[in-house]
């Protein structure tokens, strides 16, 4: 057996030293016991309770790679995923199980736990990855992504691969990370098993198509289609009958504004009943909520197009239909413009403006036009239209669910789920604009009414399995929501681990979300420390990263004690600033270089000790 080193394992120096001291001293029985213990720990941490644990074997814990290549026709498949909210991870897991059933030897791993120097030996690689923000990889794909683009990336002449890219066509850099991986693997010498598939928000059909191609090209599976459908279904259905494709209509128990009078913000706290749904979740999971479009916007579009709101139109490709007004209220996305939508709309527009906008060389104009505009703008700007409603609606995207971090613990309130949503209202292009789901929740959802919901498990944002481990939670604004769930859970479990919440918003008096909850938890000792930053109360704006810098020494001490760090909230500014602040803390307090500090944090991320749920 090979000697563990920092360079050939995911462990740091002190861990390697401890392991190398311990491992040779173990008897055979002890080794067997320990391996069982660790995998049990692992599945407890990674999978929701009550579900069949998914066997995740990483290259680091099992030596699959070294035994690969035993059979001439490769029955070995490596499935790697890069996932922020859990979609590609869930799909990867489901695909892996199906492949195993078919007799494949599957190595399933998240990209950051996969040992990159094992890549050279991989023959079949299936890579599922989402894209974030401005074309960026998810947190757990970042290190692998950088490796592939580095000089250390190996030549991969024996590799057959295929990429499934998840994304959203309303973003400029749609599926960019998937595209990057696809291109890079080819550059390194890999051969495509089957072409990359780029998925939009409503991804089921595209995913099925990709699975089908993958399965048939791997080994000429004749029943590939059936299997592919099963894979997608299995990825959705879990402990409950309800899922993304079959949402549960949850009764609204409570819907209140958390911002005090005088605030320029409105943040809703909703409590829903899960009674009868069998839905379960863990702290860190998200709630998918299907909203309804704003009736004013729907009516304005119908009027602008001269349509009849009672006309019967299809709701989807499955043949369900109903009135046009219902279709636009509940089934189709009308608040976001995408390039594919505009391209398809050309067929209905008798003006030349639209095709001119889509002409080659006008990408910048197109990007600017799409930004902040909705379907009403489109129909007003590029009329006259020759567009029968029942044809036009088919070019619209399905109204997608919105994901919100769950703000309650299932263990503490098993029949309820709480979530936190900030109403988005702004002016753009001369008109009031409303966030679809947030304003729906703020204005049109009353206690006693219902919301169609499902649970989206997020394995990448989880409390430490060991409840004695200290946690540092950084969550300004609505980013604080999952930490209410974390702390409720720890309270329910009687956890002994220390906890530290760093919160911020604009004004202390009106914007301190869940203030009395935190005060009670502090008082009861459930929460050990609470630091707050209110940016608009002082002349100089103070944010959470300033509090982190102020408490630099203490943060570092907690890290040395093994604390996990969690960040939730705004990705663009906050998560970036907090990341830099943490590196500075580690650099200054650890007396190391900037590069070493960055590597330290990277290492924490690898170990699952630095987790982010940012959006």
């Amino acid at each position: 057996m090979l000697q563990l080193q920092v360079t050939n394992s995911p462990f740091n120096e002190s861990q390697v030293e401890l392991l190398n001291r311990l491992l040779p001293s173990l008897t055979e029985t002890q080794k067997i016991w320990l391996s069982g213990y660790i995998s049990a720990l692992h599945s407890a941490a990674e999978t929701p309770s009550g579900t069949e644990p998914l066997t995740i074997s990483t290259a680091a814990t099992t030596d699959v790679i070294s035994t690969a290549g035993q059979s001439a026709v490769s029955r070995e498949v490596t499935v790697l995923f890069g996932s922020q909210t859990g979609n590609s991870q869930r799909l990867a897991g489901s695909l892996s199980r199906k492949l195993e059933e078919q007799g494949y030897q599957v190595t399933l791993a998240s990209m950051n736990t996969f040992r990159p120097n094992g890549l050279k030996k991989v023959e079949n690689l299936l890579l599922l990855v989402s894209t974030h923000g401005e074309g960026e990889p998810p947190d757990n794909a970042r290190s692998f992504y950088e490796f592939l683009y580095s000089k250390r990336a190996p030549q991969l002449d024996n590799l057959r691969f295929s990429v499934l890219a998840l994304g959203d066509t309303s973003y400029e850099f749609f599926c960019q990370t998937g595209k990057d991986f696809d291109q890079r693997l080819e550059e390194l010498g890999g051969q495509r098993l089957t072409p990359r598939v780029d998925c939009d928000l409503d991804y089921d059909d595209q995913v099925t198509e990709w699975f089908k191609s993958v399965l048939s090209s791997l080994n000429g599976q004749s029943n590939a289609h059936t299997l592919a459908v099963e894979v997608v279904q299995a990825a959705e259905s879990e402990e409950s009958d309800y899922s993304r494709n079959n949402p549960f209509r949850a009764e609204v128990l409570e819907n209140l504004n958390l911002n005090g009078r005088g605030s320029d913000r409105e943040t809703r706290h909703l409590e829903l009943s899960l009674e009868g749904s069998n839905l379960q979740f863990e702290p860190g999971d998200s709630l998918g909520v299907y909203p309804e479009n704003h009736p004013e916007l729907v009516d304005a579009i119908i009027e602008a197009m001269g349509w009849n709101s009672a006309e019967t139109v299809p709701f989807n490709k499955k043949g369900e239909e109903g009135t046009l007004r219902e279709a636009l209220l509940y089934h189709y996305e009308i608040t976001v413009l995408t390039k594919p939508l505009l391209e398809q709309a050309i067929q209905f527009s008798s003006a030349s403006g639209l095709s001119e906008l889509l002409a080659p060389g006008r990408q910048q104009d197109l990007k600017e036009y799409i930004q902040g505009r909705d379907l009403l703008d489109l129909v007003q700007d590029f009329g006259p239209w020759q567009a029968p409603a029942r044809n036009f609606v088919t070019i619209l995207r399905k109204l997608p669910a919105r994901l919100y971090s769950i703000a309650s613990s299932w263990k503490a309130n098993p029949d309820e789920v709480h979530f936190t949503v900030r109403a988005v209202r702004y002016q753009a292009h001369g008109r009031d604009r409303y966030g679809v789901c947030s304003v729906h929740c703020a204005e049109r959802v009353q206690p006693g009414g219902t919301l169609p919901i499902y649970i989206q498990h997020n394995p990448n944002f989880k409390l430490p399995a060991n409840s004695d481990v200290p946690i540092i939670m950084i969550g300004p604004g609505t980013g604080v929501a999952p930490f209410r769930s974390f702390l409720e859970e720890r309270e329910e479990l009687g956890a002994q681990g220390k906890s530290w919440l760093i919160y911020g918003d604009r004004h202390f008096v009106t914007d301190f979300l869940y203030q009395t909850d935190w005060q009670r938890m502090l008082n009861d000792g459930v929460l050990t420390k609470l630091d707050v930053a209110f940016s608009r109360d002082t002349e100089e704006k103070v944010y959470v990263q300033h509090r982190i810098m102020e408490k630099s020494r203490e943060i570092y001490e907690w890290l040395k004690e093994g604390a996990h760090i969690y960040i939730c909230g705004d990705e663009k500014h906050m998560a970036h600033d907090v990341h830099s602040a943490l590196i500075t803390v580690i650099q200054v307090e650890g007396g190391i270089s900037l590069e070493e500090a960055a590597a330290y944090l990277e290492d924490m991320q690898q170990q699952g000790r630095y987790q982010r749920d940012v959006y």
Binding site: N257, L258, G260, H269, F508, T516, L522, L530
Partner: protein
């Protein structure tokens, strides 16, 4: 103290507040830490008790309390800051600082209190220190504006007799300084003073007058210059009545044992008027004040706070005991009281020329609240005046304002500004409204049981209709309203008074003396607005038709048999 040794301080275990005081290390408590706690905008109860001595109360917006609780927000904690202004006299520069602070840290309003002090409302915990420091920088203080110490010393701002006024006011200032707490805690906490090492084992040296536990309860001193009794001298724990002969101040009659506060349903509590016990020379004033305070310090009830005011100490032991104890401590005796005469306790509005040739403009300020309203930019107007005014501002005991000591040269400009911003002497209001007094009550006061400042104006609207009908619009009648029986607006001295019982309900009192020389008596209990109007209308009608020449409303209701005259606070409840 030879013949008084038989009288022992009242027994019983010390009240909670006494414990807080003794453990506070001269008013420090944990204030430095709790003020800094960023998780709550409030303070723990113990520190809030101590904060009062520093001139501030923690309050919250009571209108929002239930709503915020549902929103998982703590109450909208905010702080009231009270500024000590002896005799209510302040400079233009000080006015401008207060105006600025009210906008920067407060709720954009200032309130003239019934003790000639200034209150700011709505200051957040994080801004307390900056605000107090700015107040201190402009040579004012909040120390001892509240708490179990001597409070703001009132004095008559009478513009007719300004030379005497100036002299009396100077004495008010001296008394205030003399009785100001000496603890360095104020400096340490608010002004970043060096922490003074507690090398003094003997508490008496830190607080030579108060000692380590201060007084059993608040202590109030007021100085009147007859014939005006606008300070309500008999409502004070210790009152001084200026005696003027041939335009010269020769000394003061001393009145002791007055006080307004009581508790609903507890007849061991009652309002009381001070009793005149003798006369002292101006140079003896500080000595009399100090020794009176020390007697209350030693004999006041420290077990039951609602019986702790000086009036109960005196009534328990008897006035003769007190005089004898005072003489004992003074080492000399008061002279016999001189004659004096009060004829009113209200204001004289409008421009009046003082004996020094300077002009004084008395403005009517409803409920003492200085703010800008849509059609009434009062606060802006006063700020504009303060920018050019070279004299002073005087806050009156009736919560009004005098622009005082205006030179003939500035009179025109100030008249113009007053007109431009709609500042008024209240001439267009009924005399009833001009004499009205109310406390703050909702939404900021934690003690309020009913509305006062926000409600009284609309009640007056309805009463004015009645007065107009019978031609009494210009008849001065003192009307007062407080939201609770703690009696900040001295309601026991209103010819018509209302003390809040619960939202929309009041006890109604009638029959106080027009010059603040007789307490009123309860007439109706727990009545709402309809009953208030139904009750008062026939009485006002009868008053209009049956009163004797010059007979005040408070005297009439007694003669007509509506209430019995209260001759002593001890029979207030009879």
């Amino acid at each position: 103290m030879a013949n008084n040794e038989v009288v022992k301080p009242i027994g019983g275990p010390p009240s909670d507040v006494e414990h807080i005081k003794i453990e506070s290390n001269y008013l420090r408590g944990a204030l430095v830490e709790t003020l800094r706690n960023p998780i709550t905008g409030g303070l723990p109860e113990d520190d809030n008790r101590l904060l009062k001595f520093h001139g501030s109360y923690m309050q919250d917006d009571r209108d929002l309390r239930t709503e915020r609780d549902r929103q998982k927000l703590e109450p909208a904690y905010q702080f009231m800051l009270r500024v000590v202004i002896p005799g209510g006299v302040m400079t233009s520069a000080q006015w401008l600082v207060m105006d600025d602070l009210a906008h920067k840290y407060g709720n954009g309003t200032l309130r003239i209190t019934t003790r000639q002090a200034f209150q700011m409302h709505g200051v957040l915990k994080w801004n307390l220190k900056k605000t107090i420091r700015s107040i201190n920088d402009t040579l004012m203080t909040t120390l001892a504006a509240c708490g179990d110490v001597n409070r703001n010393v009132m004095s008559n701002p009478n513009p007719y007799q300004s030379e005497v006024h100036a002299e009396v006011n100077e004495w008010a200032r001296k008394v205030s300084d003399h009785l100001s707490p000496r603890t360095p805690a104020y400096h340490e906490i608010w002004l970043d003073g060096e922490k003074v090492v507690d090398s003094l084992a003997d508490g008496a040296e830190v607080e030579p007058i108060y000692g380590p536990v201060y007084l059993p309860r608040k202590f109030k001193i007021g100085m009147a210059v007859p014939p005006s009794n606008d300070v309500d001298v008999f409502s004070q724990d210790l009152g001084f009545i200026a005696i003027v002969e041939e335009g010269k101040l020769i000394g003061f009659n001393v009145s002791v044992g007055g006080g307004m506060g009581m508790t609903h349903g507890d007849t061991s509590t009652y309002p009381q008027l001070g009793r005149v016990i003798g006369f002292c020379r101006p140079e003896q004033l500080l000595d009399v004040s100090e020794k009176t305070v020390t007697i209350q310090r030693d004999y006041g009830n420290r077990s039951v706070r609602k019986n702790a005011r000086f009036k109960y100490t005196i009534d328990r032991h008897g006035i003769e005991w007190f005089v004898s104890e005072l003489h004992e401590r003074l080492g000399w005796q008061l002279e016999a009281a001189r004659s004096y005469h009060f004829d009113h306790n209200g204001e004289r509005y409008g421009w009046v020329k003082g004996t020094n040739g300077k002009w004084n403009l008395s403005l009517y300020i409803q409920s003492g609240r200085i703010h800008d309203q849509d059609n009434n930019p009062l606060m802006t107007g006063l700020r504009e005046i303060a920018k050019i005014h070279t004299g002073d501002f005087r806050l009156t005991p009736n919560q009004n304002l005098i622009i005082a000591n205006v030179t003939s040269a500035k009179k025109g400009k100030i008249t113009e500004l007053a007109k431009q911003y709609g500042l008024t002497d209240g001439a267009h209001h009924s005399a009833l409204r001009r004499s009205a007094l109310s406390c703050v009550a909702f939404p900021t006061c934690g003690l309020a049981m009913a509305e006062a400042e926000r409600y009284l104006p609309s009640l007056l609207d309805k009463l004015e209709v009645v007065l107009d009908k019978v031609g009494l619009r210009d008849e001065e009648i003192n009307i007062r309203m407080t939201g609770c029986p703690n009696s900040c607006a001295r309601p026991a001295l209103g010819e018509i008074s209302f003390i809040g019982k619960s939202l929309g309900r009041y006890n109604m009192y009638l029959g106080a003396g027009f010059a603040g020389d007789r307490l009123n008596k309860i007439y109706k209990e727990n009545i709402d607005e309809t009953e208030i109007l139904e009750t008062l209308e026939p009485i006002i009608h009868r008053y209009a038709s049956e009163r004797n020449t010059g007979e005040h409303f408070g005297d009439f209701v007694i003669r007509a048999g509506y209430v019995k005259a209260v001759t002593n606070g001890l029979n207030f409840h009879d």
